[in-house]
């Protein structure tokens, strides 16, 4: 998503004003410290939490790793099991892999489970264990399986993405949080896709996000640890009980991230209505104009700005490049577009077609005309690729 204009202004101002180390006592350092405090307070207000519950990190991934590994360490006496959904971001799956060996709550024979993260992390696997909870074909969490999983003995922490980053399906976070509360298990939610776009129900103990997903600059992650949540630093350092960024923060970027969040939330309700109507247009038009297409994800309980579909017999990489030549920057969950050559674990968990996959993310700069132009060129592009494949 392009930088929000408010973030750009704040970034430029903070480059002049916030260059110093906020931990230093000279006046430029104190000024930087004030900027950091103000950014933290503004972010806390946006999220309806206390400023001292907010920590900025070097990335969304760093925030997820701190939340999970620190949340697990803090609950070591309660157990060593991490429960998570099958459709978490790879940052969560990689942390789960680091934590320990994997099993799944709902026994499905589908291949490819754990996939890249699992193969990658074997050498560093810890002694804990992780339990994966499946989703249905729309990408919705299996709540019964989740309830069973979090109520089992030895569960230290649970992690549920607020809404799928690949297909947009909003997860039943409130119900999942209730199950966790009943079992006395803290819940982490990866809210990177929701912050600034959609409401996030309460009930979580740890929340993470990424500024570039709400229109802030890259290189700023967000970690919120609610009061009363046991958290122990998984990193070397002095602050054992309080999250801290690893190394120096990019303070101008943090200031810009906080400014962007405030600006985005002011527009969020109207933008959600506008973008959701454009997503509806894509969801209705693509299956009508392109044969053999599967639009995936929940059509109603979904993020306002994200839509994913898969085209039979189409190479995802070829589709992505053809759209790029027409000026459209889209993503894909197809295996040919992944460095690991594995299909998206999210599409696999849902059991939907993984090849010919396109994910369209709309943002505040996206116009209805651009969406219409996308819808106009797509059928011809898909037809050309199929023709080349002899279909």
């Amino acid at each position: 998503m392009p930088l929000h204009p408010v973030a750009r202004q704040a970034l430029l101002a903070a480059l002049d004003d916030g260059w110093a180390d906020p931990d230093r006592l000279y006046s430029a350092g104190r000024r930087a410290g004030q900027l950091l405090d103000a950014a933290r307070a503004a972010t806390a207000e946006c999220l309806n939490v206390r400023p001292d519950e907010v920590t900025f990190t070097a990335s969304g991934t760093a925030a997820v790793h701190a939340a999970l590994l620190g949340g697990l360490a803090g609950r070591r006496r309660a157990g060593d099991v991490l429960v998570h959904s099958a459709i978490e971001h790879s940052a969560v799956l990689q942390a789960a892999q680091r934590h320990g060996s994997a099993t799944r709550e709902r026994g499905s024979a589908r291949q490819g489970y754990g996939s890249a993260a699992q193969e990658h992390g074997k050498a560093q696997q810890g002694h804990g264990s992780a339990v994966e909870v499946g989703v249905d074909q729309l990408g919705r969490l299996d709540l019964d399986a989740w309830r069973r999983a979090v109520a089992a003995p030895g569960v230290a922490l649970a992690s549920l993405i607020s809404a799928s980053h690949e297909v947009g399906t909003v997860q039943p976070l409130a119900a999942a949080a209730q199950a966790c509360a009943a079992a006395g298990v803290p819940l982490h939610t990866d809210a990177a896709q929701s912050i600034g776009h959609a409401p996030i129900p309460p009930g979580w103990s740890l929340l993470t996000g990424s500024a570039r997903k709400w229109g802030g600059p890259p290189g700023v992650g967000l970690l919120v640890v609610r009061k009363g949540t046991r958290w122990l630093s998984p990193y070397p350092g002095e602050d054992l009980h309080r999250p801290r960024p690893q190394g120096a923060l990019d303070l101008p970027a943090v200031v810009a991230a906080a400014a962007a969040l405030r600006a985005v939330l002011r527009e969020a309700a109207t933008e959600a209505v506008r973008l959701s109507a454009l997503v509806d247009r894509i969801r209705a038009t693509v299956p009508a104009t392109v044969p053999d297409v599967e639009v995936v994800g929940d059509p109603v309980q979904r993020l306002p700005h994200l839509v994913t579909f898969s085209c039979l017999y189409v190479d995802g990489e070829a589709l992505l490049h053809a759209l790029d030549r027409q000026g459209f920057a889209v993503s894909s969950g197809s295996s040919c577009t992944a460095a690991t050559l594995r299909p998206s674990h999210v599409l696999e968990a849902m059991g939907v077609l993984s090849h010919g996959n396109v994910r369209v993310s709309l943002h505040r700069g996206t116009t209805a005309d651009e969406v219409d132009r996308f819808l106009a060129v797509l059928p011809g592009i898909v037809a050309d690729i199929r023709k080349a494949a002899g279909m």
């Binding site: 996939s115 295996s335 040919c336 299909p343």
Partner: protein, 69 residues
Amino acid sequence: MIVLDCLGQRCPLPVIALAKKLPTVEVGDVVRVLADDPAAGNDIRAWCRMKGQEFVAEGDNQFDVRRVS
């Protein structure tokens, strides 16, 4: 048994081969697709669901599909 050897082929090629082959066999016949692309099992299963054909079984890099219509 009709066997389609798609070993070494990347998705969507095994699915394309299956889609071309299945209309040429009798209704009720089973086609066995040999494929080792990591997406093959998921995508052949999804293709069967979308096209109303029957996914019979899967083994080690092999997937059996019955033509039902």
